[in-house]
């Protein structure tokens, strides 16, 4: 009974608290969408294989050392970022999702610097 009474309250609370930050949370996701799309297109054209956003790019070791450099050059050119220092770690290129997060972070950092 009390549980039933509380449940809607809890749900409402959750809904209420997630609405405002929710738009902020979907904001980056929306900005990430074109990046994800472009990266999937690039990977597919470059490997003639289909990719999912979370497929591990270097999992089976099948990708050459040239491929990592191509990814770096492509990300910099396509998204107007500069990838330096620790950002060049392979972990940042593991999947489309991870690369998208890095691009958004670097774009934001560059935007912050310009402003």
């Amino acid at each position: 009974m009390t549980t039933a009474d509380h449940r809607p309250t809890a749900d409402t609370t959750t809904a209420a608290t997630t609405t405002a930050p929710g738009s902020a949370a979907t904001g980056p996701a929306d900005r990430g969408e074109p990046i994800r799309k472009e990266l999937l297109r690039f990977l597919e054209s470059r490997t003639r294989t289909s990719w999912l956003p979370d497929t591990d790019v270097f999992a089976d070791g099948g990708q050459s050392s040239l491929f990592a450099m191509e990814l770096v050059v492509h990300l910099e050119k396509s998204f107007g970022i500069s990838i330096r220092g620790t950002d060049l770690r392979l972990d940042n290129f593991r999947s489309v999702t991870v690369m998208t997060a890095m691009v958004l972070r670097l774009q934001q950092a560059a935007g912050g610097q310009d402003g």
Partner: protein, 378 residues
């Protein structure tokens, strides 16, 4: 930018003059030549003007490299080393490191780059040189082989293992523990200052580690080498231009059986081959450089292709040119004799024909049609 290229070409021509044959025979380029070209930013002409460089594009920098290679492959090799050192700083250095080191590299200090070791040639994953942090210093131990231009260098860019990856470290050539042993009898590019470099407990400030962090070794060496490959490819275009000009000049003037030998069809066939090779290599290099200038990811494979085509063509063309000149080209130090020896090394340095062949084959396989089902759904 075209004016700057013209001025750069004129400066290189005036420094080399007709002395390349003598440098080859002596096995040395006079140091003032390297210092003056270095201080004019002409040994790494693609460094941006903000760092005292010439700021040439890859395409115009390539033309300068070709012109240098046409005159003297030893000098061009020094240029390749200096350019690769600068590119490594530019690509992997922090903003502060770029501001610190690049003006030195365009200001007369000379640099060499060390990848190869006795057990790490084509397989650079076998590099055993180590870099370790000790307080606010780095300690390097290792033995680099065939480091081009190290005999002249003030600075060595050393690639080694660091933490869980790799790093490129700037090491002053006069740091305690560095021993540079010049190779006095190389087959080609005899005046390029090749040396074996021994590093024993060499200490440098921690700030000499480019980017300040460990990086994946394959990405680090592939990226650094990409500049070197482009430079070697353009240098080979220069060798092709020199051999084409020399063989054509000889075939037009040397008479046998009552006419210029160029009028004999078998010799004429050689000249046609040389012209085709020079043109094909030029176009492939131009394409790769345009990819660099456009920031296109295709630059990666286009660079491998350019190096492969240009080096193989140059080696073949140099042999052909010696054949056309015959005894007139058989004296050591002369244009085609130098080309013959220098071009052979270009089939080895910065990725052998065989290694680059594997990379090109992998690229072909990557582009072959495959099962298009996403990997995780198979």
């Amino acid at each position: 930018m075209a004016d700057r290229l013209a001025a750069a070409v004129a400066a290189v021509r005036s420094q080399v003059g007709d002395r390349a044959d003598g440098w080859d025979l002596a096995g040395l380029i006079p140091e003032p030549v390297l210092r003056e070209l270095g201080a004019a930013g002409l040994l790494c002409a693609q460094v941006p003007a903000a760092y005292g460089g010439q700021g040439l594009s890859s395409l115009l920098g390539g033309e300068l490299t070709a012109e240098t290679g046409r005159l003297c492959s030893s000098l061009r090799s020094v240029q390749t080393s200096q350019g690769m050192a600068a590119w490594t700083v530019e690509r992997f250095g922090t903003a502060a490191q770029q501001r610190h080191w690049l003006p030195q590299l365009t200001g007369g200090r000379l640099a060499a780059v060390g990848f190869s070791e006795s057990a790490a040639g084509s397989d650079l994953s076998a590099i055993s040189t180590t870099v370790r942090a000790d307080g606010d210093e780095l300690v390097l131990d290792g033995h680099k082989r065939w480091m081009t231009a190290a005999h002249y260098a003030d600075l060595l860019v050393v690639f080694g293992r660091y933490e869980d990856g790799a790093a490129a470290v700037l090491v002053p050539a006069d740091a305690p523990g560095v021993r540079i042993e010049r190779i006095t009898d190389p087959l080609g590019c005899r005046a390029a200052g090749h040396a074996d470099v021994l590093l024993e407990g060499v200490r440098v400030p921690a700030g000499h580690l480019l980017g300040g962090a460990a990086l994946p070794l394959p990405l680090l060496v592939t990226t650094a080498l990409a500049y070197g490959r482009m430079s070697v490819a353009w240098g080979c275009v220069g060798i092709l231009r020199a051999t084409l000009a020399e063989a054509s000049r000889h075939a037009a003037t040397r008479e046998q059986f009552g006419r210029p030998i160029g009028a004999h069809q078998l010799v004429a066939g050689h000249l046609a081959e040389l012209l085709v090779a020079e043109q094909v290599a030029t176009r492939v290099c131009e394409h790769a450089s345009r990819c660099w200038d456009a920031g296109s990811a295709e630059q990666v494979i286009a660079t491998v292709l350019a190096k492969q085509v240009a080096a193989r063509s140059a080696a073949q063309a140099a042999a052909t040119a010696v054949q056309v000149l015959a005894s007139a080209g058989a004296r050591d130090g002369g244009v085609v004799a130098r080309a013959y020896r220098d071009a052979k090394l270009m089939e080895i340095i910065e990725g052998s024909n065989e290694l680059l062949g594997l990379l090109l084959a992998q690229h072909a396989l990557d582009l072959a049609p495959k099962d298009l089902t996403p990997k995780e759904e198979r």
